[in-house]
């Protein structure tokens, strides 16, 4: 498709500065429209669920501790290698006990992979985004700080800590069966397949071609 040339300006339009006046009319109109500014520290923006913000370790309501099992999947997958885990194995049972769980938030690139690969939903990137600091130490999160981050997040956001589901734990539109046992949590209606919008053409009768494509 060739781009269409604009009609040439007529002499009258040139003399009357027609297009400049049009532009000025637009800016004048916008002078009286509502500004889109958000006055940040006064009006805070509510991030969408699943926003990748400050790190936290989920505090298990039963034990009061983190549910991390030291599988090291997060430390392995982390592209910037900012997660440090130390653990030892319990005598007898062979259960892994986490000694240290540190996240260096200043190295993190916030991809959310750690929360995504965690088999027990222990780590989460919360929706809290205000944690700038004057020194590097403040944003070096050890296990205690990570648990506190979770408490602070629950308190601030008002989420029910038991019912909270992060989209990185339980992606929208992914089948229950493909997830590991501890990851299966009850999710809002719109996250399930039934709640998903489907194209208008697909629902109508003449979409057999597309439907076939799906089956294939």
């Amino acid at each position: 498709m060739l781009i269409q040339p604009r009609p040439k300006r007529s002499l009258l339009e040139t003399v009357l500065l027609f297009e400049i006046l049009q532009g000025m009319a637009l800016t004048l109109k916008r002078l009286f429209s509502k500004p889109v500014t958000r006055q940040y520290p006064d009006e805070k923006r509510q991030p969408f669920l699943g926003f990748r913000g400050k790190h936290a370790l989920v505090r298990d309501p039963q034990t009061g501790e983190s549910s991390c099992v030291a599988c090291l999947r997060c430390a392995t997958v982390c592209p910037s290698q900012c997660i440090y885990i130390r653990y030892h194995e319990e005598e007898g049972s062979g259960r892994r006990v986490v000694d240290r769980y540190d996240i260096e938030a200043l190295r993190c690139i916030y991809c959310g992979y750690c929360a995504e690969v965690c088999p027990v939903n222990a780590i989460v990137l919360t929706e809290s985004y205000e944690y700038s600091a004057y020194d590097r130490q403040t944003n070096y999160f050890d296990r205690g700080r990570l648990l506190n981050n979770w408490d602070a997040f629950v308190k601030e956001s008002g989420h029910d800590p038991v019912a909270y589901v992060n989209p990185f734990w339980r992606p929208r539109g992914v089948d229950e069966a493909t997830l590991a046992g501890p990851r299966r949590r009850k999710v809002p209606e719109e996250w399930t397949r039934a709640g998903q919008p489907v194209g208008r053409l697909c629902r109508s009768q003449d979409s057999e071609v597309l439907a076939e494509g799906v089956q294939r």
């Binding site: 000025m24 916008r30 002078l31 500014t37």
Partner: protein, 318 residues
């Protein structure tokens, strides 16, 4: 003694005006761009200009190592003095003028040309390539547009028969339309365009074109010296708006007299023109340097000459 008091009042009022013209500009352009402009300092951001002034005043005054210090110091002062000297001859209302001289209009021209020396010297003295280009651009721009500006006002002089600004207003009040903008519409148009170029405002803000020359001739200036340039620019705008008001829009006369405030209509018209300045800045892109020159020499000057010829003819016939 009374003269000194008058001067102090005038300078005080004008500096306050300059401060709030920046506020007005930021608010107007802000809202045209669907944002808010200053809001944080004081109610509605009204103390913003004061805060800016304090900041600029106490900011470190950096002078480039290889700058020519004498000229570097002198340049902003030349600019500001030249701009402020104009204020003496402007009649804000009937009889409300510091120095009533019979060549007021010529004086304004002389002073506004002088201001360009400051700009050129600033560009030269900074010893910076961007400043230097800005200074050169400003020089050629001012030379070209000074001519168009002067010629556009010749029609007014012919109609009023005087160079005294107060008498031009008085003559205008007795003319058929009350303002010269209608019979002198061609001159008015040329004047408005040349006025924008003369004060280095959009769409002719080439000497300080930020996307090309960083900040043009005052790239290397900081702190109080920067603010002197800034003030000079805004006072220049005020002076040009006043000349437009006096020569084309009927000065202080209005549809009805406002009691106790003789300069009401004058101020209202000036602010109207200032708003127009900001409005254009929010709307138009910037000309290129050579296009600006060809516009000045090939369009505006012939138009202004045509205006003089037509005015002369009409004046001889009627």
């Amino acid at each position: 003694m009374a003269l000194v008091v008058h001067m102090l009042i005038l300078v005080g009022v004008v500096l306050l005006h300059v401060a709030y013209a920046t506020y007005f500009e930021r608010k107007v352009i802000g809202h045209m761009q669907v944002r808010m402009g200053p809001t944080r300092v004081g109610p509605l951001g009204l103390l913003q200009p004061i805060a800016d002034g304090i900041k600029l005043f106490f900011k470190e005054d950096v002078i480039p190592g290889c700058a020519d210090r004498t000229l570097f110091y002198a340049a902003p002062i030349i600019c500001l003095v030249a701009a402020m000297a104009n204020l003496a001859v402007l009649p804000f209302a009937s009889g409300l003028v510091l120095a009533k001289i019979n060549i007021g209009l010529l004086f304004v021209f002389a002073m506004s040309s002088l201001a360009s020396y400051g700009v050129v010297l600033a560009g030269w003295a900074s010893n910076s390539k961007f400043s230097f280009l800005g200074g050169l651009r400003s020089m050629s721009q001012v030379i070209s547009y000074e001519i168009a500006l002067g010629l556009s006002l010749v029609g007014v002089m012919m109609m009023a028969g005087s160079l005294d600004l107060s008498e031009i207003v008085a003559a205008q009040q007795q003319s058929r339309f009350g303002i010269y903008a209608i019979p002198q519409f061609l001159g008015f148009f040329v004047f408005v365009v040349a006025m924008l170029a003369e004060t280095n405002r959009a769409p002719f803000d080439l000497p300080e074109a930020e996307s090309e020359l960083v900040a043009g001739y005052f790239t290397e200036y900081s702190g109080i010296r920067f603010s002197l340039f800034f003030m000079a620019e805004y006072i220049g705008m005020l002076v040009m708006a006043s000349i437009a008001t006096i020569c084309f829009l009927g000065g202080w006369s209005g549809p009805f007299a406002v009691p106790h405030v003789p300069f009401f209509w004058f101020a209202a018209k000036i602010y109207g023109i200032m708003f127009f300045y900001f409005w254009l800045r929010a709307t138009l892109p910037r000309y290129r340097y050579d296009q600006l020159m060809s516009l000045g020499w090939k369009v505006l000057i012939p138009l202004a000459l045509l205006n003089i010829v037509v005015t002369g003819f009409v004046k001889t016939i009627f």
